[in-house]
Amino acid sequence: MGIDLVGMEDVWILPAIPFAVFILVSFFGRLIPRNGDFIAVLGMALVVLLVGLVLVDFQGAFHDEVFAPIAGANTYSFDWIDIGDGFFVIEFSTYVDAVTMVMLPVVSFVSLMVLVYSIGYMKGEARYGWYFAALSFFVAAMLLLVISGNLLQLYLAWEGVGLASYLLIGFYWERQSAAEAAKKAFITTRIGDVGLLIGIILLWRVTGTFDIQEIIHAAEEGVFGQTYLTVAMLFLFAGAAGKSAQFPFHVWLPDAMEGPTPVSALIHAATMVVAGVYLVARMLPVYDEVLIARDVVLYVGLITALMAATMGLVATDIKRVLAFSTVSQLGFMFAALGVGALTAAMFHLFTHAFFKSLLFLGSGSVIHATEQQEVGELGGLRKKMPITALTFTIGSLALAGIPVFAGFWSKDEILHDLQHYGPFAAYVILAVTAALTAIYTTRLVLLTFFGKPKNEQAYEHAHESPPIMTGPLVILAVLALVVGFITYQGVGESLGFVGGIGELVYLPHHGPHVFKLDIAFAAVATATAVVGVAIGIMYWWGDARRAIAAQSWAPELHQLLVRRYYLDELYQGVINHVVLGAAAVVAWFDKRVVNETGVDGSTQFVGFLGYRFKFLQTGRIPHYVLGMALGVAALAVVAIGTT
């Protein structure tokens, strides 16, 4: 068993640490030197250490290379809410398996890198302490999310990371655009979250439990009807697509770049946006039962991957290019899940986290140095910022899928699985997307670090970032170079995983698959990437005359991409004219019809009657006698009539 100080049953302590940091720093940050930034970093370092210990315990639970923990060794639970005498019980429960063990190192390690980097990047900012508090809150929620043993707790953490995202996108709330982006992100993802909640309720109704493993069991035993389960899983996927910025919910992520760049690196590249991938991966055995829902995951992934890559081709803001690329890469992961390729999806999630956070932190280094983020104002920076340029290039090569870099291995794995298990068109779409990825990545690197400086002033101003920022860049660059090798058994084992990733993360009914490099296949993938890079170099090397020519060659297409297929405008139009228009109509109805006509009108009517009939009260006896006589006569008629 090894060291059993902190085992798989104790993972609840992981989110507890950053949460305690959040409380401490947000309430008492002003009293602590440096506003408590070092507490956040040290707390995170402790989490990384503990994840290591959990990993040791995790390895101990393998018998004959199969994960077979003793009952209860990888779970922990207590009743949190109990309503209706056990009619529904919400547990706090944790669950650890291979999927969790892929997520935990990613979340904790990237968080640590980002926190360290932030000490340099955020130096001198107003609300410096709050920044570290909010980031710690995010990490707590994210860790809680990936260890959740039940769907409701996952939902709670899910909204928690959403809140953190809202607060951090809107960190510079003085800026209207940042406040707007924060709101957009929250509301867009919330539409998906409603789907998630409905999905959870639908699963609960039939099984009476929120426990993920029990629900998977129930689904495998056929407790659900096919249609019912399909609907439930589609609702669940709506939540995943919202969080992971998949079509048609992708619109919030590019705008989310309004947040501080390290936030983009952590939340909007490496961790929170993969929560949707994690959710579908976690529930993949259930998706395997309803192939229609799984196909939807595939198609959405494909559409998103391709669409976002094309938008990435024309974006001019360095962070937005990376944001589109994140959306696109998440599409790759969903496409993999859509053909049931759990291993490939989680592998890509793993490598992507490192090279994409590297790219974002690199872009942050550039922004920090030049105070520019439009590529049109950059250029030639490799001479001024050699470390940033080198590490950024390594990250780009990983993203482009050039061999030996991390992204190559995982993207290759996805393409491979798509070709085997998916429709051929799906493979073609992703291969084309991979080529586009190489193109826009090359473009980004060339426009930023090569060629002549386009803004002399910014160039003069530029300088290499301090070691506290370049340190994390270098570490992440090394990882972007090597983590792909965990696909090999030997490498995986030396890193503490059992076997290569294919023998670690797999669906039980598919069985482990030992990785074998298919040279012919890899050659095609490599050729695609290289062609992409070549096209990029051809167009953007030097003075980029050809690129401008391409714009004038197809201005409509260019405009379509720049305007993001007009989807943002469409949504805004729907909100302004349909939702708020309907709201205006209803509000008018409420004011005029319900209130003024119905309520005030009825009182006025009573007043009117009183006004009219008061003339009957003449005070003259003969009138009253006449009235009485008429009344008696009428009663007499009625009486005679009835008898």
């Binding site: 409603v194 109704r205 709201a583």
Partner: protein, 490 residues
């Protein structure tokens, strides 16, 4: 014990009235003392209340009116069960908050606090009465202080709004009284528990009519579409403390009445009309939320959001099961604290900016970070963020109502998207953006009473969000007998 809770504010009200004119401002301290004592009593009641024990606890009972030969009697009969214990606690807490946010009142101070304390007694009577006639009397007693508070200390069209509130409630309670009399005279008793044990089988007029006669009063108070339009007007024109009491506890009288009286006494009729109730509920949630999106006045915005949120209460009730009913009761409590806090914040903002027009404010976060932060917390609670109390209640209602009323429940779930829309829009417009010269002189919350009023409610909202058991244990024991009626017979 509960009689003490009932009488303490009344005693404070009388004492305040007898203050000499030159020591008028001391009425604040008297009000704080007596509402504070009442709150302390409510805490003792809530903590010593034993959820495992059946029936009412802390009972005080004696015959009050016994007309010879009439065949019935009216009792003074008070006590708490799991349903009323949290309501009493909520009332105790919000009354203190209401007194605190009134510390700046400078017009007819004695009377103001006397009315405020009388209001507390009246509402306490509603939550504690176990006799229908007594219930009705307290129900009507609440109108007097409310009418005065809105029409004298209110602003805008305060007389119109006060009168509207009065007539609306009176019209509703006239029907209610007819319903009570028909049931009570027929059964020879007005005791709620006796009537629950042997529900009336038939009466002078059809029981379904009796059911609606009683329900109309409660639905007006809740309020739900289409009898809600008094609420935005009353809120807009009422002083801050009255808005807090109105949203925090007065609306709960409606839901409480349904749970305490309408369902247990007329379960068959409730069951017959459950789809009608669910339809009204689901519609109200969306209708209220959609209108909220259009509001520019801060108070109207929160008032319409209350219409939406009280729709959830009715949705949980319409489910007629243990979970849905528990959710409804919990939603009443959490909405009381959340919306109470929202109105406290609106009051603080209005005191500083002298406007409630959302579009005319911007960048207030620069001047008042504390108010902005607490407003955001209240807003997040209102839009149902997990970890804060609103979510637990809404979730419980959704889970409880889904099987019985899937369509209304899904409508309700979509209400939370709209809630995110109007809350975040409001927060962004008021607090975010560049600093505005116009607001350069504003001060953040800086008096102790402001801090206590905000802090206490935030603590409750967070505590229930994380440990809902502190309230749900009590609520469950109160709901169980009601739920049993429906499980056993229908």
């Amino acid at each position: 014990m509960v009689t003490l809770f009932l009488l303490l504010p009344l005693a404070g009200a009388l004492l305040a009235l007898f203050l000499p004119r030159e020591r008028e401002l001391d009425a604040r301290w008297i009000a704080l003392l007596f509402s504070g004592l009442a709150f302390a009593v409510s805490i003792v009641i809530f903590v010593t209340f034993d959820p495992d024990q059946n029936g009412y606890q802390f009972v005080d009972q004696f015959t009050w009116i016994n007309p010879s030969g009439a065949g019935f009697e009216v009792q003074y009969f008070v006590g708490v069960d799991g349903l009323s214990a949290p309501m009493v606690l909520l009332l105790g807490l919000l009354s203190v908050v209401a007194v605190l946010v009134s510390f700046n009142i400078d017009e007819r101070v004695k009377e103001y606090f006397a009315y405020l304390l009388l209001l507390e007694t009246a509402v306490a009577g509603v939550f504690l009465s176990l006799d229908l006639i007594q219930f009705f009397l307290f129900w009507e007693l609440e109108l007097l202080p409310m009418y005065m508070l809105i029409s004298i200390w209110g602003s805008g069209r305060n007389r119109y709004s006060a009168m509207k509130f009065l007539i609306y409630t009176l019209a509703g309670s006239a029907f209610m009284l007819v319903g009570f009399l028909v049931i009570g005279v027929d059964a020879g008793t007005f005791e709620i528990s006796a009537l629950t044990e042997m529900p009336p089988q038939d009466a002078l007029i059809p029981l379904s009519l009796v059911f609606w006669a009683i329900m109309i009063a409660f639905l007006v108070k809740l309020p739900v579409f289409p009898v809600h339009t008094w609420l935005p007007d009353a809120h807009t024109d009422a002083p801050t403390a009255v808005s807090v009491m109105l949203a925090g506890v007065l609306l709960k009288m409606g839901g409480y009445g349904i749970l305490r009286i309408a369902l247990p006494i007329l379960p068959e009729q409730a069951h017959d009309f459950r789809f009608v109730l669910a339809a009204i509920a689901g519609f109200s949630v969306l209708y209220g939320a959609v209108i909220t999106l259009q509001q520019r006045d801060l108070k109207r915005l929160i008032a319409y959001s209350s219409v939406s949120h009280m729709g959830y209460v009715l949705l949980g009730i319409a489910a007629l099961g243990a979970v849905g009913l528990s959710g409804a009761a919990l939603q009443m409590f959490t909405h009381g604290t959340i919306t109470g806090l929202l109105f406290v914040m609106v009051g603080l903002i209005y005191e500083r900016t002298h406007t409630r027009d959302i579009t005319s404010m911007s960048g207030l976060m620069h001047r008042m970070p504390l108010i902005g932060t607490v407003m955001l917390i209240a807003g997040l609670a209102s839009l149902g963020l997990p970890g804060l109390s609103g979510f637990v209640a809404e979730l419980t209602i959704f889970l409880g109502a889904f099987d019985a009323h899937p369509a209304a429940t899904i409508a309700g779930i979509f209400g939370v998207v709209l809630a995110a829309g109007y809350i975040l829009w409001m927060v962004q417009r008021i607090f975010h953006g560049p600093a505005d010269e116009k607001w350069a002189d504003l001060k953040d919350a800086n008096c102790w009473w402001e801090h206590v009023a905000m802090g206490s409610l935030v603590v409750v909202i967070v505590a229930i969000g994380i440990f809902p058991g502190i309230i749900t244990d009590s609520i469950e024991s109160g709901i169980a007998p009601i739920a049993q009626i429906f499980e056993a017979n229908l």
